[in-house]
Symmetry: C2
Subunit: 233 residues, 2 copies
DNA sequence: CCCGCAACTTGACTATTGTCATGTCATGGG
DNA sequence: CCCATGACATGACAATAGTCAAGTTGCGGG
């Protein structure tokens, strides 16, 4: 992925999308750009937060180590998502660890840069704040709407988000373990399996960690249709 | 409810809870305090936003009028919730109308006051922003956890939030239509009915819009228990 | 006072999902 | 090369919650 394409993604992130051009440039010019390998650690629990992170490509998971030694995944982020804002703005230690699940590009905005920019021009704070409240309310709405969709539909949307193209057919690699996907979509691995089998009917073939979509429009129709309409299957 | 008690609630709201004392005082001294009757309009769709609203007591609903003339409830807010932040910070017209569902106390913080305070001291923006991101992530976590609770458990938590006391027995009035409660808890009215019948087993009696809880601790235990543990009912 | 409407309850049925158990398959260690 | 392990698929079953339909109740208008 080109640096320019990465910048485009970065501009769409919650943090930057409402900022005036000149400030976006300032932040981008101070940002640190890094690629991580699969499994590489981005930061560890208890480390002091010094930056806000924006995922440009690939997948990142936040997790905690449980007393028994197994890990509990807190959340999974992907292209365009930012994380660590609250912690960075407050200069406190991370409550979780972050690791690259796939190869991924992450942009780090040093928090001192953002904070000094905000102190210099309070408008920045106001516009980020307004964008955040909007995001917060849309999130609530989305999550309420999630209950109106079946598991298979959520999986369909997940697949659509993985595709870059708008139409026709598309092959995508599932970026990580199906168990992790299931967690992200709020279902058990078994239910994910069943959701995949259902999607066969709308032209989706799953082979290992690879999905083949024969017709994106058809899949989109399915994802957005009223569950009731699909009952007469 | 005394004015002092109202101030305590206001201080706990998302907007104020992270602010330094002096700024909270400034905002509180400029705030407008009003009581609304059941059914009274707080603001109308298309009106220009001039304040951020904090519910101190009672219930407020946001809704849109559909083309057919019926109303679609967007969300319901209660004690400690604030709304209209994004709209007020951007000075754009309201996309929804707000109405008091029960008698309620609402504090209005004029947005020009907050904005000028933020311009004067950018730290304010930073601390509100940090609090907002924290809230945003906890919301996501909460909503994911919702899927781990049955409808009856969500209703139990809803009732517990209505009680002021910590222990023993308690009578509360249901603040509004059961249809509205069902919407707020993400279930159909029928499911709410059935959830209420289940709660009979843990000492809850429903009569009209009035709930009688015989033992709050028992209800809390039920709400927080693992659904699997209640299967052997 | 009665009627009708709307909210609410209840019952029957169905779809979805979680749980448990089992089976398959690929991978890596011995 | 074989087998143990873990990821994944699948079937059987149970529980939850949505849908549809039919009743019940309370309230306001006529």
């Amino acid at each position: 992925m080109s640096h320019e394409a990465q910048k485009t993604i970065a501009r769409q992130s919650l943090l930057l999308r409402s900022l005036p051009e000149q400030h976006v440039e300032t932040l981008l010019s101070h940002a640190i750009w890094r690629q991580y390998d699969r499994g590489e650690t981005i930061f560890l629990q208890e480390e002091e937060a010094q930056a806000i992170h924006v995922v440009l490509d690939g997948w990142v998971k936040l997790f905690r180590m449980t007393p028994t030694g197994s890990e509990a995944v807190v959340s999974v982020f992907t292209r365009g998502d930012s994380f660590g804002e609250a912690v960075a703005l407050r200069n406190v230690p991370y409550p979780v660890s972050a690791e690259a699940v796939s190869v991924c590009d992450v942009m780090h905005i040093p928090s001192p840069i953002l904070i000094s920019l905000m102190k210099e021009d309070p408008e920045i704070g106001i516009s980020i704040l307004a964008a955040t409240f909007t995001h917060l309310h849309s999130l609530v709405a989305q999550l309420e709407q999630l209950k109106a969709q079946t598991g298979a539909q959520r999986v369909a949307e997940f697949l659509l988000n993985l595709c870059d193209v708008e139409d026709g057919e598309c092959d995508v690699a599932l970026p990580y373990d199906k168990m992790l996907i299931a967690g992200r979509l709020g279902m058990k691995p078994e239910s994910l399996s069943r959701a995949f089998s259902r999607l066969k009917a709308v032209g989706v073939k799953i082979n290992r960690n690879h999905a083949q979509i024969s017709d994106i429009s058809q899949l989109r129709d399915y994802a957005e249709s009223d569950p009731a309409d699909n009952w007469g299957r």
